[in-house]
Symmetry: C2
Subunit: 408 residues, 2 copies
């Protein structure tokens, strides 16, 4: 009565087996079919251990191997240098908004820099959409001396602030390096569909200033030069696994602290403290065991293909949809400047709200779901994460063509 093992299924063709649909959710989002099948297969009895991973002590040898394998695989996939720690935490992207600020401000180097300056260092934020905006709000709440480097762009028609492009680097208001604790940005904005090109920000920032990048929604979708970053933070539930685990990749020198000064961690709860996790293999207390296990399977799946191949597939998927948008711009209105449009979350509108409703309803009849734009933006959004087979994007494009023909 147990299901077939993972190896029995080919991901690319499995999207619509088992009565499944094309799931274009922005997150939590589609997982590789082979991962789900392996999880299902081992759910009552993990590899002869007589129990589910859901029930497994995090102090057992078997679980110790699961989490250390997950870390080792992620390190290989992303080519994480040895002077970086890889941590598994809880609290999602929102937790890491606070954690990034609190940990950086607790770092010895940052505190010494601040002492030298004699006044609070600036925390530089690039606001490129809803998610980085929330990050800024969180650190302001916690008392950060925040500086807004950029805040979207002005709409040429209305003069209002909109998040569909980035201003040129020459217009960015970066603080002076000697006055900056860190620079923070979100590389892919899932709500607004804006993606910052690789290395665009690190190239613009003085190398003495650590750059913190939220890669929640595009991690593992393309190669990344980890060595350019102070820290990379990400919730797992887009490209890496289920909700409930966050991944932090942080340069080890930023974890150095003056342990003799209790004020260093006065505002930093343990559960957000990167050092607390770093010193204990991500298990100073019970980690989100099952979510990490599933992430580990996704990492192995990603490793088997390689980031270069995943990156090509990502471009193939998103390009075919953008090509269809660009073929009929009067009907499919892409919301984002072509230079910065996301390969993960594609946002566009149709001529009328009625047509959008019809589009969503007819797509659902073809087993394509989660197409509605974020409530703050409206329109259509489809998310094409790593685990979405090219066939899913193709099915969507076929539907776009058909819908255009019937309704334009």
């Amino acid at each position: 009565m147990t299901p077939s093992p993972a190896s029995a299924s080919a991901d690319s063709a499995a999207g619509l087996s088992h009565g499944r649909v094309w799931n274009f959710s922005a997150g939590p989002s589609v997982l590789p079919m082979s991962v789900l099948e392996e999880v299902q297969h081992d759910l009552l009895n993990y590899k002869g251990q007589g129990m589910s991973v859901l029930e497994m002590s995090h102090r057992s040898k078997v679980y110790g191997n699961i989490i250390s394998d997950a870390e080792a695989t992620l390190r290989r996939v992303l080519k994480v240098p040895d002077n970086y720690s890889v941590l598994f935490l809880q609290g999602g992207g929102t937790g890491e908004f606070a954690a990034s600020y609190l940990n950086l401000m607790a770092s010895k180097a940052v505190r010494e820099k601040q002492r030298k300056l004699g006044k609070p260092l600036k925390c530089d934020y690039l606001i490129t959409g809803g998610w980085s905006k929330s990050g800024l709000k969180e650190v302001k709440r916690l008392g950060a001396n925040a500086n807004v480097v950029l805040d979207g762009v002005k709409s040429p028609s209305t003069g209002e602030t909109v998040y569909n492009s980035l201003p040129p680097v020459s217009e960015w208001k970066l603080s002076k390096p000697e006055e900056t604790a860190y620079v923070y940005y979100c590389e892919n904005e899932t709500v607004h569909g804006v993606e910052t090109p690789a290395n665009f920000v690190v190239d613009a920032v003085d190398p003495s200033v650590p750059v913190i990048c939220d890669m929640s929604s595009n991690m593992l979708s393309r190669p990344v030069d980890v060595s350019r970053f102070g820290a990379i933070v990400a919730g797992a539930q887009k490209n890496m696994g289920p909700a409930g685990v966050s991944i932090v990749i942080v340069r080890k020198d930023l974890l150095e602290r003056d342990e003799s000064d209790p004020e260093v961690t006065r505002n930093l709860p343990s559960v957000l403290d990167w050092c607390y996790f770093d010193g204990a293999g991500s298990m100073p207390h019970t980690p989100p065991t099952f979510s990490i296990y599933v992430c580990g399977l996704v990492f192995k799946w990603a490793e088997a293909q390689g980031l270069e191949a995943l990156s090509k597939l990502r471009d193939e998927r998103s390009n075919m949809v953008y090509d269809e948008i660009d073929a009929h711009p009067e009907f499919f209105n892409g919301l984002v400047d072509k230079k910065y449009r996301s390969s993960m979350n594609l946002v566009f509108t149709l001529p009328t709200p009625e047509l959008e409703a019809k589009f969503i309803a007819e797509a659902a009849e073809r087993n394509m779901v989660q197409l509605k734009g974020h409530r703050s933006l409206g329109g259509i959004r489809i998310s094409l994460y790593n685990a979405m087979p090219v066939e899913g994007a193709r099915a969507f494009v076929d539907f776009m063509k058909e819908f255009y023909d019937k309704n334009h």
Copy 2:
């Protein structure tokens, strides 16, 4: 190839089907077989939705129903009064150490009391074992004006502090009610096997002072009068579900704040802020969707039996093991004062470390695992949570008898 649905299996007899073992882990720990089977059955396609819960948007209607059903079921099972909020958070017990302190100190009533007093209120901690000790350490780190109400008991032989009993209430050093922000205790200490009887603490504390109880390891194992508590906090991974979700049941008046004063939440990251979750149905951002789903299934399983029945089963399981311990006290040395010994985590030693190693090894041959005492205490610990069938405890007792006969 899909597995049989949940209803096909009887929990009580299913412990050793599917090649499973008796899992006496202190947490994460055994789950009801029917829950695991339902999870497995629906893993690729949740009830015809065409996707796994692992992949499901938390903003979808289907997931909205999953989380609101989970909350409603827990409310029914625990008879949670309407003036209490039920929240699902991340960060485990450690997260709630900090959250309890930070949220209570942000509460309007507590801040007004403190203003009236003209100096920092006391946070009263009962230290009954390793877990409450960690709770105290965390709030001291965050700057709490902590008062230790009790710290285990003095060993009559060595005079050292030990955690195997509680001092009489007459010796507790509770702060004056008008000087106390809250009283905190952990009702069941998983490491030391000490359990505080129901209402023992709330009966001793002035009713004007909110009592915060960590019920991580005995929640749902007996009826509880929620109305006696300011807040009940718990990590799920003992009696309620998988790791990665924490449950908070908090009296709503304690969530009232002076919103005009930003200092109120200056040290309170959103991810630990009970109000942030309360205002958004536990979903101000992506919750640990899958863990909450599994908890919801466990709540339904608990509801089907009722807390009274679960409480009887718990006593049946633990009493049969304690009876065997008490029958041969020179061989099985129960570590805890009978009045306070835990019905969840039973700790004892054997005459020698060699016998303990032999005991653990021979138990493993009989498919009984996770018997080793916590690294700080040594000896044997078996955990008998809700989902452990009585048959599991019986198998263990049979083994104890056999081992005693051969080795005493």
